[in-house]
Symmetry: C2
């Protein structure tokens, strides 16, 4: 069998199959990055594994891989950062679901972490996944071969900033909570989406570029691509919340509306929201096509983001 | 006025005055590391500043400074790591105080973060201080002059590991919670203390050494010193919880007993606990004296740890 480069799709291969294959690779590696359940504190490690391993789409780590491979990096050098970003995603979901926040009982078709392990362990499991992400990012494995410490520091800074408070993950969650049951305008909504979901998705794409040793103008292009697909992803998520069943979503649908959360469809309706998502994806594709590389996968992923059904 | 090296005490200067002076330096720098309250999300930044800035002893950052300066580093190169470690300490206190954990109303003489800002913001402020710590550790300021990226990565890894789950900060908190209302033996108690308090105190001393470019045998000596004063600190804390008033402590005394927490005095009584703390400090002093350097301050800090009144 001829080997194929990771940044090319076989003619017969669908993007869905590609995403599934990469998700499996990510899952296999994630498995090794959290202590096994027999290591004390057993219950905490069980909770971390429960929330991290399982049925996620692995969009963020796949973006790290796809972006990095597009510019010449190998999966082995990308995997620690890819997994660290997924750990941060998992921590943010655990904390978002807590009774004091969104108070959700169901996540990916299973009880949320605090429903399964209690609130104290859920808070600490989130803390632990966030902390472990930085341990993985600063590990020997994440240094590259040959080691490039400067690059490693830059990746850590990129991830920490995207997970932070200023137009970033935590800031977005705060704005989301504070605007529940409020009429919000377009700019607030876009601030929430850009921060809460967009920042980490953009960072995933950028981190791949950094590890691949991309030039500054390429990094800028990746950031512009990442920003647009990040926003498109959240718009698509909001649409799915309105149009899907619980079974498709693996979480309670209609929750946003019930909590009077700010969403695109709530402000603009479903069809205008779909048009906005398509526009963002077209922009992303146009931008990323300007990289001097084979961008087939990155373009396919952009389309996948609004065509997925869960 | 003759300038004095930071790792020497003036004959007339008490260790208490030294600690107060260094705490002020740390406070001034911490101030710059959290976004001001006018930057959105304002309420979150207010909560972060409320819990981070204020009246802490700043023991951990002072240990980074004292350890690093003892081996030749300058305060400017040590300050980012010192402040990052204090941020992690502040995050751990916010989360420990939450209703799902220790459910404390009072911390350092003021309402705890969730009492002042609500539970959602308190959880996110903790998350944000932890995240910001890694942003500071990976910042340009923390690279040293001239930049030493390899050292910087090593510091990040040391801190992330000490803040983690395996014989480290989070693991200790889990064991602490899980052993409430249980009869625990000596080894469990020492595991809790070594993990919950000891790991970050040890890391503070070690990180100072790393930044100073200490040799491996010196780092080992610093770690052995740090491990002992970390344990001594927690034993002293347990004793203070039994023997102090609320005013002295700035938090509710007798809480440990009320929650039937595992403590040294509960198992061994106050006077045997005092003897154990003294023994640990004497060992720490003997060990650190073997560094080929002026260790006056590190020896004084070891004594201070069990002689303090709050």
């Amino acid at each position: 069998m001829k080997s194929r480069r990771n940044n090319e799709l076989a003619p017969e291969q669908s993007i869905t199959a590609y995403m599934a294959r990469r998700a499996e690779e990510v899952n296999a590696r994630l498995e090794t990055y959290v202590p096994p359940e027999i290591v004390p504190p057993e219950n905490l490690h069980r909770a971390m594994r429960y929330s991290l391993l399982g049925t996620g789409k692995r969009l963020r780590p796949i973006l790290v891989l796809a972006s990095g491979e597009t510019l010449g990096a190998v999966a082995d050098d990308l995997m620690p950062a890819a997994c660290a970003i997924e750990m941060i995603h998992a921590y943010s979901l655990i904390h978002d679901d807590l009774p004091a926040m969104d108070n959700d009982d169901l996540r990916r078709g299973r009880p949320t972490c605090h429903k399964a392990f209690g609130e104290a362990i859920a808070i600490l499991a989130g803390d632990a996944l966030l902390t472990r992400a930085f341990e993985v990012l600063s590990s020997v494995e994440a240094q590259g071969k040959p080691p490039d410490y400067r690059k490693q520091v830059r990746v850590i800074r990129e991830v920490a900033t995207a997970a932070g408070t200023v137009e970033a993950l935590i800031g977005g969650q705060v704005a989301d909570i504070e605007n529940e049951n409020k009429q919000v305008g377009d700019s607030t909504l876009e601030y929430i989406h850009r921060s809460k979901t967009g920042a980490m998705i953009k960072a995933s794409v950028v981190v791949g570029g950094i590890i691949a040793g991309a030039r500054d103008d390429q990094i800028e292009r990746l950031a512009a691509y990442g920003g647009r697909i990040g926003l498109a992803f959240q718009v698509a998520d909001d649409i799915l919340d309105v149009t899907s069943t619980s079974e498709q979503l693996g979480k309670t649908p209609g929750k946003d509306q019930a909590a009077r959360k700010a969403t695109y469809p709530a402000i603009h309706g479903v069809s205008a929201s779909e048009a906005r998502a398509r526009q963002l994806v077209e922009e992303a594709i146009r931008i990323v096509s300007g990289l001097e590389a084979n961008t087939a996968i990155l373009r396919e992923i952009a389309r996948f983001i609004i065509e997925r059904s869960s």
